[in-house]
């Protein structure tokens, strides 16, 4: 059973592309020493989930920005909505900018409204920053089709260039500024139509806006009034009748979700919030890469030394413990991939540290076994006693580490504790490390010791039989 689990984990833990390097004995392992490279392409699983490492910003490079939203101009009741709108706008902008998986988190605490933005792999921080820093611009523009001959001309011009269809579509309408902007809008809200019970967006204009909106809707009845956020079209409802009250609704085949989304975007214009950079961290990709390489090399050398030490001190059992350690490492990596743990540099340190600690359970058990043997107990009993009695102290001792790791991770997002990605990264790997260390140390080593050490020689055959039975 354990073997099957192990093989599955190995499979998951394998990198997508695995260059195998062969080294001759005797030469110390040198990474620059190039040897025949064999590439294996292995997808993590037939289910289309790919087991990739998520890399933290400190590894793949990128930008982390903490922004402060200035809410002094926004009425108290609207502040939460305004913050949500700013978040939405920033997310939209970085999406358009082409950043994959941007993270934008909003938080408010003690009257402080903040946004944390994480952009992985940004190469031009200055540009990214100016992109994010702008206050949202909402405009209402009339959309009218261009007259036929104009259209023919522009289409001809467009087909001469590449990317014909898109530009042709854009060129076939004309945008007319109306002077109506986000400043005239008081608020947008998702509502339900009292008659049809369908979701719709209701707009409320201020005094000035109501007048302007009334004029526009009277003069251009039947035409389309496009709503633009940051110069790109959000939607283009058509004007059904003149609206003079400053209260408008946009109907359509909207779902509740869409209505909410639209309101948030509209509010970005209606409730303009200036933002200010509180904290900025930009890490170039090269620094992270180098550090990862170094850390992993350090980790491997460390594991090698630990294995050597275990074998020297505990002999045959040391070999088994090292085997358990190897399985532990593979399980850990597999779990990282399954849970999608974001790897950060402190996280890698946490992993390396937990490998060192994982041996602890084994050492406790082996020492206990030695003692029981010294006390004159036969081998089999000494072994079982060793596992049984050591368990108590292993359990007690690890509880404190687990509690500390939990405080570092702050899973409930208490505002009085940290939420820093780096600290969490370390906490998470430490927690996974300790819990898994307990499992492998106790369950796997015990199984291995039972299988291989009781009946010397036939251990391997026994093992094979067991696997067959399990299947």
């Amino acid at each position: 059973m354990i073997m099957i689990l192990f093989l599955m984990s190995c499979w998951i833990a394998l990198p997508e592309k695995l260059p195998l390097k062969f080294n001759l004995f005797g030469t110390p392992i040198d990474i620059t020493l190039s040897s025949p490279v064999l590439d294996l392409y292995i997808l993590g699983k037939p289910v289309h989930k790919q087991f990739d490492f998520k890399q933290g910003l400190d590894i793949q490079g990128g930008m982390q920005i903490v922004l402060q939203a200035d809410m002094s101009q926004i009425p108290e009741v609207d502040r939460a909505d305004a913050l949500e709108s700013v978040r939405e706008v920033i997310l939209r902008r970085v999406d358009l900018y082409g950043i994959s998986e941007p993270v934008v988190q909003a938080s408010s605490n003690n009257g402080q409204y903040r946004l944390m933005v994480e952009l992985a792999g940004v190469t031009d921080p200055t540009q990214a920053l100016s992109l994010i820093g702008q206050t949202a611009q909402l405009d209402f523009k009339l959309i009218s089709p261009i007259s036929a001959e104009n259209k023919a001309q522009t289409e001809e011009a467009a087909t001469n260039q590449n990317g014909a269809t898109e530009s042709a579509q854009q060129n076939s309408v004309e945008l007319i500024d109306t002077g109506l902007s986000g400043a005239s809008l008081k608020r947008a809200q998702p509502t339900l139509n009292p008659q049809t019970n369908e979701p719709e967006v209701s707009l409320q204009f201020n005094e000035e806006g109501a007048k302007l909106f009334g004029d526009i809707t009277t003069q251009h009845e039947g035409e389309m009034l496009g709503i633009f956020l940051d110069q790109s079209l959000l939607m283009a409802p058509s004007i059904k009748q003149p609206i003079l009250t400053g209260q408008a609704v946009i109907t359509g085949q909207f779902t509740l979700e869409e209505v909410k989304q639209l309101s948030i975007q509209l509010n970005a214009g209606a409730l303009p919030v200036p933002i200010q950079v509180l904290e900025q961290r930009t890490i170039g990709a090269s620094l992270g890469n180098e550090s990862v390489q170094l850390s992993i090399r350090a980790g491997l050398i460390g594991i090698g030394l630990v294995v050597l030490f275990m074998i020297m001190v505990y002999g045959m059992r040391g070999i088994l413990a090292s085997w358990a350690l190897l399985m532990y490492a593979v399980f850990t990596v597999a779990i990282y991939k399954i849970l999608g743990v974001t790897l950060t540099l402190p996280g890698i340190a946490g992993l390396i540290l937990s490998i060192g600690m994982a041996v602890d359970a084994n050492i406790l058990i082996f020492e206990r076994m030695k003692e029981e043997q010294r006390a004159g107990k036969p081998w089999g009993i000494a072994m079982e006693l060793g596992f049984g009695r050591a368990w108590d102290s292993i359990k007690d001792a690890n509880v404190t580490t687990i509690l500390t790791a939990l405080i570092l991770i702050n899973p409930l997002n208490f505002s009085f504790l940290n939420t820093s990605g780096l600290v969490r990264g370390f906490g998470i790997t430490l927690l996974i490390g300790v819990v898994l260390g307990l499992l492998t140390g106790v369950v796997i080593t015990r199984t291995l010791v039972r299988l291989f050490l009781r009946e010397k020689g036939i251990g391997f055959r026994l093992n094979k039989n067991r696997i067959n039975k399990d299947q």
Partner: protein, 287 residues
């Protein structure tokens, strides 16, 4: 072998390590990183063995920049520390550096405002307090005896003080700063310290049940002796892993690993040689 008999020696050894640290803490304090006090940091890589010093950077920036220090952080890599500056000020400096040195690569740029750093400081202190309290309560409950809880926590403070003291000294002599990762390392040290202490205490409890008549000092001594090889072997593995990280792991997490390493060493020592002797002493004096 009677280890506990020499307990005053261990107290002296602890003091030898504690006093310089405490002195340095009082005298020089810790060097807080921008995480806690705000400010900015630019790390750059210069082409081809060129170097940068404070004077050279100071000539390029005005007083608004608030240049604080320029340190070498690797071969051809330099850290420029200043007041909280914005993207434009940074870009200006980099442009000027590039005109003088050629292709200058910005490895990282961090700028932290004062309000954020103040919050972080209070959050950090909360976390440290919380961890200490939880651990104390846990040990207390586990051993149902105030002696065990208090001495375990005292040993824990001993380790934290040594760690803080070392970083105060490192800060004074090598400009090592205390950042959020240091605090993380310290919290981990707290749990390390108790981890080992619990293993020894567990053994004392077990022996006490088995031989209720034997004198406490002897029991404690046997427990320490019996767990010592485990304790040392276990620490060796952790120390090996951490030393590898400190020596080979790159700059970014070097001091973090160093803090963990110091914590692991003192945590191991304090369990057998601080916590248990304190426990024995307590038992003797307040029976």
């Amino acid at each position: 072998m009677n280890i506990i008999k020499y307990r005053y020696l261990y107290f002296v050894i602890s003091l030898v390590f504690l006093i310089p640290g405490i002195f340095s803490l009082l005298r020089y304090g810790l060097k807080p990183a921008i995480d806690f006090v705000g400010g900015s940091l630019i790390e750059v890589r210069l082409p081809e063995n060129q170097s940068l010093n404070y004077g050279q950077v100071a000539e390029l920036v005005d007083s608004d920049f608030g240049l604080n220090a320029v340190q070498q952080s690797g071969s051809g890599q330099f850290m420029i520390k200043a007041k909280e500056i914005d993207e434009n000020q940074k870009n200006n400096l980099i442009a000027q550096l590039q005109s003088q040195y050629g292709e200058v690569e910005v490895l990282r740029f961090e700028s932290v405002g004062p309000s954020i750093s103040r919050e972080l400081l209070s959050k950090t202190l909360t976390a440290v307090g919380l961890v200490s309290i939880i651990i104390a309560i846990y040990v207390w409950r586990q051993f149902k005896d105030i002696k065990f809880g208090v001495t375990a926590v005292l040993a824990m403070f001993h380790d934290s003080l040594i760690l803080l003291g070392s970083f105060s000294l490192l800060g004074h002599f090598y400009g090592v700063e205390v950042d959020i990762l240091f605090v993380t390392a310290m919290l981990t040290t707290l749990s390390f310290s108790v981890h080992d202490t619990i293993v020894v205490y567990d053994r004392i409890r077990e022996l006490k049940r088995k031989y209720p008549r034997v004198e406490f000092e002897n029991l404690a001594n046997t427990a320490v002796l019996e767990t010592l090889s485990r304790s040392i072997n276990n620490s060796v593995t952790i120390i090996v892993m951490l030393s590898a990280l400190v020596l080979l792991g790159g700059n970014t997490i070097r001091w973090f690993s160093t803090a963990l390493l110091i914590g692991a060493i003192t945590g191991t020592y304090s369990s057998s040689f601080t916590a248990v002797p304190l426990l024995v002493e307590w038992n003797k004096r307040f029976k």
